[in-house]
């Protein structure tokens, strides 16, 4: 049984919850200018009323909040430390198991998206990866825009962690050797029993290069690449 509580002190009497509820749980008391929870048994916990409420005055008890995986950890941490009286109904835990499930869930979709992209785009797949990487790098906060090449490598290292863990980089004149130690695509391939170097690997490999190129403000040419279960290496030619 769902219990719905309306904080009568906080309620502003706009009656938006009455309009919004898909199952007509509420009626409106015109005299008191307050919503009345008439049929709580009809509530299926969509939280439309709670979300439309300007004062955030409606609370539910006994509903199952669906877990969604797309919440920002930074914002959740902040919300938890606002010193609130009760816990929030975000339906999210930051437990390791939940995060693993999120990655698995997303991974399967990514694999199928990559193969569809390959079928429709053919050899243009690497260009798409690069473009996506460049676009993301353009959204970096201003203060993270690095001054030197080494600083740029550090920014890339920090901002891509933990999806990619970039190991040693060696640079001499125009060549750059990049070692990628941890990679979420590799973990996914391992789990699904796939070969390395598949469509998703190419898509995100070029994505990484597009990102790196934009942050270091240089044109990168891929000369050679080697995939391995421990680490992948990229040999690049750098033109600044």
């Amino acid at each position: 049984m769902v219990t719905i509580r309306v904080d009568e002190k906080a309620c502003v009497g706009c009656a938006l919850c009455v309009d919004e509820c898909p199952t007509d749980v509420f009626t409106f008391d015109e005299k008191k200018r307050l919503p009345v929870v008439e049929k709580p048994e009809m509530c299926f916990g969509c939280l439309s009323c709670s979300k439309i409420c300007p004062a955030d005055a409606i609370e539910h008890e006994g509903i199952k909040v669906s877990t969604n995986f797309y919440h920002d950890a930074y914002a959740l941490n902040m919300a938890a430390k606002l010193g609130l009286a009760e816990e929030l109904e975000t339906g999210v835990t930051s437990e390791e198991a939940d995060r693993k499930r999120a990655v698995d869930d997303l991974g399967i979709r990514l694999l199928s998206i990559a193969s569809v992209l390959r079928q429709t785009l053919g050899n243009a797949l690497p260009a798409v990866g690069r473009m996506a990487g460049t676009t993301l790098a353009a959204q970096l906060p201003r203060y993270q825009m690095p001054a030197s090449f080494d600083e740029a490598i550090q920014v890339v290292r920090d901002s891509l962690n933990p999806a990619w863990i970039i190991g040693e980089t060696t640079r001499s004149n125009e060549s750059l050797k990049l070692k990628v130690e941890g990679c979420f695509v590799r973990d996914l391939c391992k789990k699904e029993g796939l070969e390395l170097g598949g469509d998703l690997c190419i898509l995100f490999g070029t994505y990484l290069l597009g990102y790196l190129g934009k942050v270091t403000k240089s044109r990168l040419r891929l000369m050679n690449t080697a995939q391995g279960w421990k680490e992948c290496t990229y040999d690049l030619e750098v033109h600044t």
């Binding site: 904080d7 002190k9 906080a10 502003v12 009497g13 706009c14 009656a15 938006l16 309009d19 200018r33 979300k51 439309i52 300007p54 004062a55 955030d56 005055a57 797309y70 919440h71 920002d72 930074y74 914002a75 959740l76 902040m78 919300a79 430390k81 606002l82 010193g83 609130l84 009286a85 009760e86 929030l88 975000t90 906060p141 201003r142 203060y143 993270q144 825009m145």
Partner: protein, 307 residues
């Protein structure tokens, strides 16, 4: 053991320190339980003595701010981000849109009131790359947004920090304390740049005036709408805007406003985006806001910020 309090003031206006003093008699009862060991506005103490609770006001803008913040974190057990600047970056967060050079240039060289001036490099501490809220540098134990936070919430928040079993703060929005009547109207025109309405008892949204009350966390007891001025969102985003990535200040506000006054949602959103510098003024430099997939602050701010 007696609770000891240490406070520090970074890039802020000192208003939050004044808000602490505004606890009035509550401050006296606070002083019975707690001892203030460091506070720039109350005590002449230049060092960083150990304290159980540290209160930090203001965002991190200069190298000195960063130094002071790290010192504070070392010297206190529990750190409170006090006021919107410390929590979200505050109004000076607009610096997030521009590079350090652009900011210094506008302030000291090209600005209309100081043609051909020089940048102070020896007298003033150098600026950091950008304005950032304090939790990008250190861990924070309690966030108390507000510009400044109302003494009621300050007292409740500090009590909650000292003893977790005490009742905490509400997650209601500013509307919860506002006394205006929200009514559905039709045929209302959007009134750009208006902050005060004709009807003193009717909700601003019903009158076609953009008021950020419903998307702002209540840490203020709604003083502005009570005296007839629309809310500017000084305590930062409300809980649903903060925690849901796809919910944003402008989408939430437009949704409610459309239902209350009949102005098309797209018109309201376009207006908010055009004036994003105003409506996002207090929380612009916080990752909680600018990392949202729907927020394109640089785009909205125009070419000078995008360059």
């Amino acid at each position: 053991m007696k609770v000891t309090i240490s406070t520090e003031w970074l890039s802020g206006c000192s208003g939050c320190h004044i808000a602490l003093v505004d606890l009035h008699e509550k401050l006296l009862s606070l002083l019975e339980e707690a001892q203030i060991v460091r506070s720039p506005v109350l005590i002449d103490e230049k060092g960083y003595p150990h304290a159980t609770v540290g209160i930090v006001e203001g965002a991190v803008r200069s190298e000195h701010d960063k130094h002071a913040l790290l010192k504070m974190r070392e010297s206190v057990d529990k750190l409170v981000a006090f006021g919107t600047c410390a929590v979200y970056g505050g109004p000076s967060g607009i610096g997030w849109l521009y590079s350090r050079d652009q900011v210094l240039d506008a302030a000291y060289e090209q600005g209309p009131t100081n043609a051909g001036g020089e940048r102070p490099d020896a007298e003033a501490p150098a600026l950091e790359n950008s304005v950032r809220p304090i939790d990008e540098y250190v861990d924070v134990d309690l966030y108390l947004p507000g510009c400044p936070p109302h003494p009621f919430f300050v007292a409740a928040g500090l009590r909650k920090l000292a003893d977790d079993s005490r009742p905490g703060l509400t997650h209601r929005s500013v509307c919860a304390d506002c006394e205006r009547k929200m009514e559905k109207r039709q045929g209302v025109q959007l009134r750009p740049a208006a902050v005060a309405g004709d009807d003193p008892d009717l909700c601003f949204l019903s009158q076609g005036i953009v008021c950020l009350g419903s998307v702002t966390l209540n840490r203020c007891m709604a003083p502005c709408p009570k005296i007839g001025v629309a809310c500017t969102g000084c305590a930062g985003p409300a809980i649903d805007v903060l925690t849901d990535p796809q919910r944003d200040l402008r989408s939430e506000l437009a949704l409610r406003m459309e239902k209350l006054c009949g102005i098309p949602r797209s018109e309201i959103i376009a207006y908010l985006e055009k004036n994003a510098n105003t409506f996002y003024a207090y929380a612009m430099s916080s990752p909680a806001l600018y990392k949202k997939p729907t927020v394109e602050l640089r785009e909205w701010a125009g070419p000078s910020a995008v360059a």
